[in-house]
Symmetry: C2
Subunit: 343 residues, 2 copies
DNA sequence: CATAAAATGAGGTACGCACCTCAGAAATCC
DNA sequence: GGATTTCTGAGGTGCGTACCTCATTTTATG
C-alpha cells in the first residue's frame, strides 16, 4: 500500500540492494537477465524513484542556462523578471539558473553562446532564438553532449530539442483574427498587419492563422499588405503613420510581434487610435498601459511565469528521466482585455 | 555560498543542533533569548528549510480533504478530473487527497462533512461551498483544531480561512460586460442575465461588475430583469424561452453560474441562438462544444488545473509554515473563444 | 543556599536514495 | 578442471532534516 522503495524491489526481484541500485542508475556489471528481473519488479510494484531523496543523496544541483535575447525588448524583460522570481522560489529546490544574453539577430552570437555551454557546467538549456540552420546544428550538438534542451517561446523543430515551451502560433493568429472580426463589427473596412519580419516562423504562423479566420468568417474586411519594420522603429513609425492616414476606412491593426512602442506612437500621432481596433501580442508594461488607456483593445499573450516555470519543470523532468505532466505544460493563449488585466 | 543547513545555524548562533531543532519546530524548552539568537542566525544566513529532506525525515504524508459539491455539475466534474490528475502527479510528493462530497444546497450536510474532518486524519482542507453562517463557524472550528483551510472557487471571507483560491468575481463580471458590449456592437438592444440564485455571493459580485461596465461604456444596451433558475432546469428553460421570444431586440445573454445546459437548450429552441451573443462561465465539455458550434460566443473561466494545484501548493505551504509565492497563486480570469480553446 | 525545574548539549536513529568498496559466488574460457 | 573474468551481496557513508534520550549546565524557587 505504501510507496515502494528500493528495498521492496530488491526483495521482490530476489536480488540485493546494490544490484537494484546498479540497474536503476545504469551502472555496469549486471547480467541482462538480472536487469530484466529488477525492471519487472519495478513495474509490478509501481516503483517511482523519489527524486528529492535522490537529489539529496546525490547532492547535485540542476544547472540550467537560459539563452535569451539581449537588447531592450519589454517582453524579454518581463520574461527575465519572471525567471528571477522563479529562481528565488526554486532556490530551495536545488536549481541554479544562469541567463545567457545573445544577439538574436546574429546567428553566430547564438551559436557561440550555445557552444560555450558544456555538459560539465550545465544540465539543461532553454533557448529563445530564431530558427536558423546554424542554431539547429548547435542544438543538436548540445543534445549529443547530453544536455536537455527546450525551445522557449519560439520553436526549433527538427533541431532535436526535447520540448517546446510556448503557444501554438497558428492558434494565436486565429484568435487575433476572431477578436478582430468581432470587435470591428459588421461594417466593411480594412485591416493592417504589422510585424518585425515576415521571415520568422512565428510571424508566418500567426499571419496564416489570422488570414484563415478572416477569410472564413469576416470576409467583409480587407487585409492590407503587411508592414515590416525590420527592426527599425523609425521606419515602422513612418510607414504606419502614412498607412493610417491613407486609408480612411481602416478599422483595425494587428501587430504580430515586438515593436509595439513605435506602433502605438504612430497610431496616436495619426489621431485615429481611439476608433481603431488594435490587437497586439505580449502583455508588457506598455501594452498593459495601452489597455488601460483604451488605446489597445486586446492583448494576446502567454503567461511569462508559466513559461519559465514550465521550462524549468520540463528541464528537470528530462534530467531526471521522468515523464512530463503534459496537461500542466501546455501553455495557453491568453486573451487580455482591460477588464481582466491581472492585478 | 552554498545552501546553509541547520548545522550552519547552530554554529552561527552558538547553540547545539538540538536547540536549533527545537526552535525551528516550535518545540518547548528554549529560553526566549536563545530563540531570538537562533532566529537571527536563520535570517542572517538566509536559511530555508529543505522541505523535502524534512518530509523524508518526518515520513509523513500531507493529508488533504477536498470538500466538493455532489451532484451533476459539469464544472465540478472537470474539477474532480483535474484533482485526480494532480493527485497522480503529486503522489510522488507525499500528498494524500480525499474527496468529500457534500450537498451544497444543504448547509447541514456541509457542516457535518466539515465536522467529520479531524486534525488526527487531515492536515488541510479545501472547501467549495456557499457561504453560510453555519459553514463559517465550522471553518473556524477547523482552523482552531489546527487544520489549514482554503476556500475554493467561492470565497468564505470572515471565516478565518487561510487563503482563497479562485478568481475575482467582480472582475469576471466586468470582463463579461466588456465582451458583451464589444461583441454585440453599436446597435441598441437588450441583454438578458441568468443565474441560479442571486443570493450567492459569486452571482452578486459578477452581476455588479457586469452592470458597472455596461453603464460605463455600453449604455445603449438595456439589461432585462435577471432570470433565476433556483436550481430548477425546467423552470429556467421555460422562462428563458419566453423571454427570448418576447424581446425581438434581445442581443445577448450572460449566464453567471451553473445551468448552461437548459440555457443552451432554450436558446436553441427559440431559434435565435446564432444571432445572440452568448457569454457563459466555466469551460466544460458542454460549453466547449458550444464554442465549436458557434452557439456560445465566449466562455469566461478559471483553469481547473491551476485551481487544484494552487490549492494544494497553498495547503502544503501553510502546513510547512512557509510563505506562499503570491504571483503563482493568483488565478487568472481566462477568456476562451473558439479559436483559443485549449487542445 | 539547597533543591527543584528549566534549558541546553551530545549523540543516536531514521527517512530513501546514490555511490563506494571488497569479498565471494557464478559463469566463461582454455 | 583450474584459472580468469564477470556478477552479485553485504555493508558502509552521507545528504538535510526530524525526533528521541540522557546527561549536564543554568536559572528560578522556596
Amino acid at each position: 500500500m505504501a510507496k515502494p522503495t528500493v528495498h521492496d524491489i530488491a526483495r521482490e526481484a530476489g536480488v540485493s540492494l546494490a544490484t537494484v541500485d546498479r540497474v536503476l542508475n545504469g551502472r555496469p556489471g549486471v547480467r541482462a537477465n538480472t536487469i530484466e528481473r529488477v525492471n519487472d519488479a519495478v513495474r509490478s510494484l509501481g516503483y517511482v524513484r523519489d527524486t528529492y531523496a535522490a537529489n539529496l543523496a546525490r547532492k547535485t544541483q540542476y544547472r540550467f542556462a537560459f539563452v535569451l535575447p539581449d537588447g531592450d525588448s519589454q517582453f524579454v524583460d518581463t520574461l527575465k523578471l519572471a525567471l528571477k522570481e522563479a529562481m528565488a522560489a526554486q532556490l530551495a529546490d536545488r536549481v541554479f539558473v544562469k541567463v545567457v544574453p545573445v544577439q538574436v539577430q546574429d546567428p553566430h552570437s547564438v551559436v557561440r553562446a550555445l557552444n560555450s555551454l558544456s555538459a560539465e557546467h550545465y544540465d539543461g538549456v532553454a533557448i529563445m532564438a530564431p530558427e536558423t540552420p546554424q542554431v539547429r546544428d548547435a542544438v543538436a550538438r548540445l543534445k549529443e553532449a547530453g544536455l536537455s534542451v527546450v525551445a522557449l517561446v519560439s520553436d526549433l523543430p527538427t533541431s532535436g530539442r526535447d520540448h517546446f515551451v510556448g503557444i501554438n502560433n497558428l492558434s494565436a493568429g486565429r484568435t487575433a483574427g476572431d477578436l478582430m472580426g468581432r470587435f470591428v463589427g459588421a461594417i466593411p473596412g480594412k485591416v493592417l498587419i504589422v510585424t518585425n519580419s515576415m521571415l520568422s516562423r512565428d510571424s508566418i504562423e500567426r499571419r496564416l492563422g489570422f488570414d484563415e479566420v478572416m477569410s472564413e468568417r469576416f470576409d467583409h474586411l480587407t487585409i492590407l499588405p503587411t508592414i515590416e519594420s525590420r527592426g527599425d522603429p523609425a521606419r515602422m513609425e513612418a510607414i504606419l503613420l502614412k498607412a493610417a492616414l491613407a486609408h480612411p476606412d481602416l478599422r483595425g491593426v494587428y501587430s504580430m510581434g515586438p515593436g509595439n512602442r513605435p506602433l502605438i506612437g504612430a497610431l496616436r500621432r495619426s489621431g485615429r487610435i481611439a476608433e481603431l481596433t488594435v490587437i497586439v501580442h505580449e502583455l508588457t508594461p506598455l501594452t498593459h498601459q495601452g489597455l488601460i488607456d483604451y488605446e489597445v483593445d486586446a492583448v494576446i499573450t502567454q503567461n511569462v511565469g508559466h513559461l519559465v516555470r514550465s521550462a524549468m519543470r520540463v528541464l528537470r523532468a528530462k534530467c531526471d528521466g521522468v515523464a512530463i505532466y503534459e496537461a500542466q505544460e501546455r501553455i495557453r493563449i491568453d486573451i487580455v482585455l482591460k477588464e481582466n488585466l491581472p492585478t
